[in-house]
């Protein structure tokens, strides 16, 4: 077992710290996660396929992934705008706005959930203005998109922001000297520099939306086939003591998350190479 091979180094404590790291990682993360995979393998292939392709389950995938996609797109547009405004322009209160961007990370999801549901309910602060126009947000799929946009926003801003900071103005000066208009510079010089980070932020926001539970269930309405997200369906199955069903669906979700994680890692590698 020379998997973790140590190279020459005078600092002490390598064996102990690495040993503890691997031990703690195994008991908290790896073994519990493998339980999910092993439990799923207890099902026959036929059972597994029937469970994960049942109409109600498929409808929940469509809602979850569809809403996460829309939310990630909204966040990509506004996230880039916010990152740009925060780095490039000066305005009063910029520091406070910058700190507030991380609110969705810091605010517990249940609090976000009940608050969004209240604001966007037909007599809420925002909902009362939308209601007369026939726009219903709370208790519809639109509410799911809204909650996912809220929790995904910091991912795009915080991946794009450092890249905007790193852009050297010489590039823009050169483009201007060569006769480019500001619009051409933005589209042909700035945007290509930002695009890897925008894609990464998009993927992070999408991945977060797909797994999200707490902020969504209060505003979604949770109607089977219409506004029921996959994580909620897992909980419903658990409450009905359908452990096999819950496990099978969870396994599909887990595989999707790992695929997304892999894609995000590759994107980040690509953008790092791109930046050099």
């Amino acid at each position: 077992m020379k998997f973790f091979k140590r190279h020459n180094n005078v600092l002490p404590g390598f064996g102990v710290t690495l040993g503890f790291t691997v031990f703690y990682l195994s008991i908290i993360v790896l073994i519990p996660l493998s339980a999910l995979v092993f439990k799923t393998m207890g099902l026959t292939w036929g059972e597994f396929i029937t469970t994960v392709t049942a109409p109600r389950v498929v409808a929940s995938y469509k809602i979850t992934f569809g809403a996460a996609l829309v939310a990630a797109l909204i966040n990509s547009v506004f996230g880039v705008l916010v990152a740009w405004v925060l780095v490039r322009y000066n305005f009063p209160g910029r520091r406070i706005v910058d700190a507030l961007i991380d609110l969705p990370f810091a605010l517990p999801t249940a609090v976000a959930g009940i608050t969004l549901a209240t604001i966007y309910s037909p007599n809420g602060w925002v909902g009362r203005f939308l209601e007369p126009h026939g726009i219903k947000v709370a208790f519809t799929p639109l509410g799911i998109v809204l909650a996912m946009t809220f929790i995904g926003l910091p991912f795009v801003v915080r991946t794009v922001q450092p890249v905007v900071e790193e852009i050297e103005t010489e590039l823009e000066e050169a483009a201007t000297c060569l006769g480019a208009t500001r619009w051409q510079t933005l589209v042909r010089v700035i945007f290509p520099l930002l695009s890897p980070s925008i894609l990464t932020g998009f993927a992070l926001s999408f991945a977060r939306g797909v797994g999200e539970y707490g902020s969504i269930i209060f505003i979604a309405g949770n109607m089977p086939m219409v506004s029921e997200i996959t994580p909620l369906l897992i909980i419903t199955k658990l409450e009905q003591f359908d452990y096999r069903g819950a496990t099978a669906i969870a396994c599909v979700m887990l595989l999707t998350s790992f695929t997304l994680l892999l894609a995000i890692n590759l994107l980040q590698k690509w953008s790092r190479r791109h930046a050099e």
């Binding site: 710290t17 609090v111 994580p231």
Partner: protein, 290 residues
């Protein structure tokens, strides 16, 4: 990232003529960004406090003093008090091994440490039910010996440790890598022991990084909902954390009380953001001084 680039960059005027948009466009973009943020971030934050105090301070305080609320606060504090030190210890240990040494499989290890962030909270709770639940791997054995893990406090703590697992480690690893190991090597050559080196050289250098990781870990530990909801069993006054108590009050149409309890968590979020901003600034400063 070398220091000179930073100085060039910070001296950059944001209003250089050819490098910026016309004032009208600039103001328009700022306005659109701020309206979007006001709608999505500021409004919800204001709504929490406004709803909480809707019926006055007396009703607000009464909701907080209720016995079930107090016991949920106690459970949340216990959970954070167990979770944060464990993950802090792990984070520092992992960062030492990963940042100060070279070994095969390092990137894989970093990816695995980050894993809990990409798992849905619901699944983070489910996996513990699959192991410790009645139909789980060691559930029957636990029942024979009358040990309760799932639908009890230990389950809540385990699920919370899982979801907050990466916070300290992922902040410390890049920071300790950036600081290199020359200072530690010098301390060792001068005759310091390993632990002395760590406490007197490494720790002061990464202090703000640790504070940053701990404050985020704590915020998530106190605010986690999905994972805890799966393993809790929702027994009022027994296995209810603050976020779960908010849900129960809300579902009972007791909105004022729900928002009163939620305002505690929102307040915690604001403190978290403040400490985080300061820590971020200090870390940046320290890296630039290096």
């Amino acid at each position: 990232m070398s220091a000179p680039i930073h100085t060039v960059h910070s001296s950059k005027s944001p209003t250089g003529r050819a490098q910026t948009e016309p004032p009208v466009v600039r103001r328009l973009l700022i306005a659109v960004a701020l309206i979007f943020l006001a709608l999505f971030l500021a409004l919800p934050l204001a709504a929490v406090f406004s709803q909480a105090f809707e019926k006055g301070l007396t009703v607000y305080l009464a909701a907080l003093k209720e016995a079930d609320t107090l016991s949920s606060i106690k459970l949340t504090l216990i959970t954070a008090a167990v979770t944060v030190p464990l993950n802090l210890f792990f984070g520092v240990t992992a960062a030492w091994a990963i940042a100060k040494f070279n070994f095969t499989g390092k990137n894989l290890l970093i990816t695995l440490i980050d894993l809990p962030f990409s798992v849905s909270p619901v699944i983070s709770g489910l996996i513990y039910v699959l192991i410790f639940g009645l139909q789980g791997w060691i559930g029957p054995w636990l029942q024979e010996h009358d040990i309760k893990i799932v639908f009890a406090v230990p389950g809540i703590i385990l699920a919370t440790i899982f979801v907050t697992f990466p916070f300290v480690a992922r902040e410390l690893i890049p920071l300790m890598e950036a600081q290199g190991k020359e200072e530690e090597e010098a301390a060792l050559v001068l005759g310091a022991t390993g632990l002395q080196t760590f406490f007197r050289v490494t720790l002061p250098n990464v202090k703000w990084g640790i504070i940053y990781g701990v404050i985020l870990c704590n915020a998530r530990a106190m605010g986690e909902f999905g994972a805890v909801s799966v393993v809790s069993g929702h027994i009022r006054g027994m296995t209810n954390t603050v976020p779960l108590h908010v849900e129960i009050l809300y579902n009972e149409y007791n909105y004022t009380a729900a928002f009163a309890v939620a305002s505690l968590l929102a307040f915690l979020a604001l403190i978290t953001l403040m400490v985080k901003s300061v820590a971020e600034w200090k870390v940046r400063q320290q890296l630039e001084n290096n």
